[in-house]
Symmetry: C2
Subunit: 241 residues, 2 copies
């Protein structure tokens, strides 16, 4: 599902006490938990409106968790690999272009500096310095022309595993209520209670992590989960009834 | 689920014939279809291994599509709104800092230029030019210090609707087989056939869009879908049997 974000760190964080940055792993946990807490919860809630067996809700819920966890994890892993390959192929292209059409590439550096707001005289000097060393020149093009940071090749499998696991953990929370209750209706009541509290707490910390108003974030997460569950409940009852 | 990517365009595309860029809408369709084609497919396949009623598979599948579609769409919408608010709050902070601690901000500009590889003499001149106009100065800090591009506030609702719809369309493809077949086993056979072909075709065009080897991308998409479905089938049979 979500592609793991291997290059979301701020490019240059000179006052970390102000601009909050979160580790790649925390971000992956947030991605996995967001979906894991909402979709399996909503699916189980939906089925509760239409079937009489808790066992069926648990089975469908577990199937969803496994399917979602693999789709997110494996999909994310492949997206991460693609990012690594994409970076390598663009890097090769820039190296070639710097060798083969240096004047064109030099004009591109000049254009980027003009966009920043530098005068012609300063640009002339700056272009000469930036293009003096071809490694530095290519690095400049990758970062400022293409907006690409070098992805860590070890990040993709790590991200995939973290997202997958977080999705599964998130999904088991709402589903756990159906393990211990006798009817889907009882399961739904407990599941909704537990999950909305978890979504609220999770939304609170997620917002704090990204520097947003935490209570508003907590309410938003809970509302998304509640709406998804209500819609799934409605459609399952309409189809099943 | 996936946060809509409002700022993924290349920052500066000077040779568009080489570096492929895809529109935000196409990206959102890809995000929605990737998940829509895999997760509902895998869930329905999983249930087919354990229940005897096609109606039940359809009901659970529709509940999943509704739940996933809302979680992705609404979640994406809120993430997009957060991005807009985050940009506005950072912009305000940079404006204040440029007013209140200009020397510190000037030193940051200098540090960024040093990282690019400019000499001290050129930097002195460049810093003077970049900080001459406070609007331009703030824009420079936003883009090069924080790596933030101004998000389009209209993008979040558009992205949310596109992702949601693409997820629903993607999910209805594998599920449609169960509408017209008598048993879950028949439904699964048709669903797997149709979906794997769709995943293959979709993977092909998705890879072409991002400039990756298209056949390898097609195989990868189909493998993710098949593995997710097989795992869901296995767990549902284990729990249900």
């Amino acid at each position: 599902m979500t592609e793991p974000t291997t290059t979301t760190q701020l490019p240059h964080d000179v006052h970390p006490e102000h601009h909050m940055t979160s580790s790649a792993m925390l971000q992956d946990i947030v991605i996995g938990l967001s979906d894991g807490l909402t979709v399996p919860f909503a699916l189980a809630a939906g089925l509760s409106g239409a079937v009489t067996s808790s066992g069926l809700v648990v089975m469908a819920g577990l199937a969803e968790i496994v399917a979602g966890s693999i789709a997110m994890g494996l999909g994310g892993y492949l997206a991460g690999r693609t990012e690594v390959e994409h970076y390598a192929s663009e890097l090769g292209r820039e190296h070639r272009e710097v060798q083969e059409v240096p004047d064109k590439e030099r004009a591109e550096v000049d254009e980027l500096l003009a966009e920043m707001g530098l005068s012609e005289a300063t640009r002339r000097q700056a272009v000469a310095e930036l293009t003096a060393d071809s490694e530095q020149w290519v690095r400049f093009m990758m970062k400022y022309e293409l907006g690409l940071e070098e992805p860590d090749p070890k990040q993709a499998p790590k991200s995939a595993a973290t997202i997958s696991l977080a999705y599964a953990v998130g999904g088991l929370i709402p589903l756990s209520a159906y393990f211990v209750t006798d009817t889907p209706a009882q399961g739904l009541a407990w599941s909704a209670g537990i999950t909305l509290v978890c979504l609220f707490v999770f939304g609170y910390f997620k917002s704090r992590l990204t520097g947003q108003p935490p209570v508003a974030g907590a309410v938003k997460m809970a509302v998304v989960g509640a709406l998804a569950a209500a819609a799934a409940f409605g459609i399952a009852r309409a189809v099943g009834g």
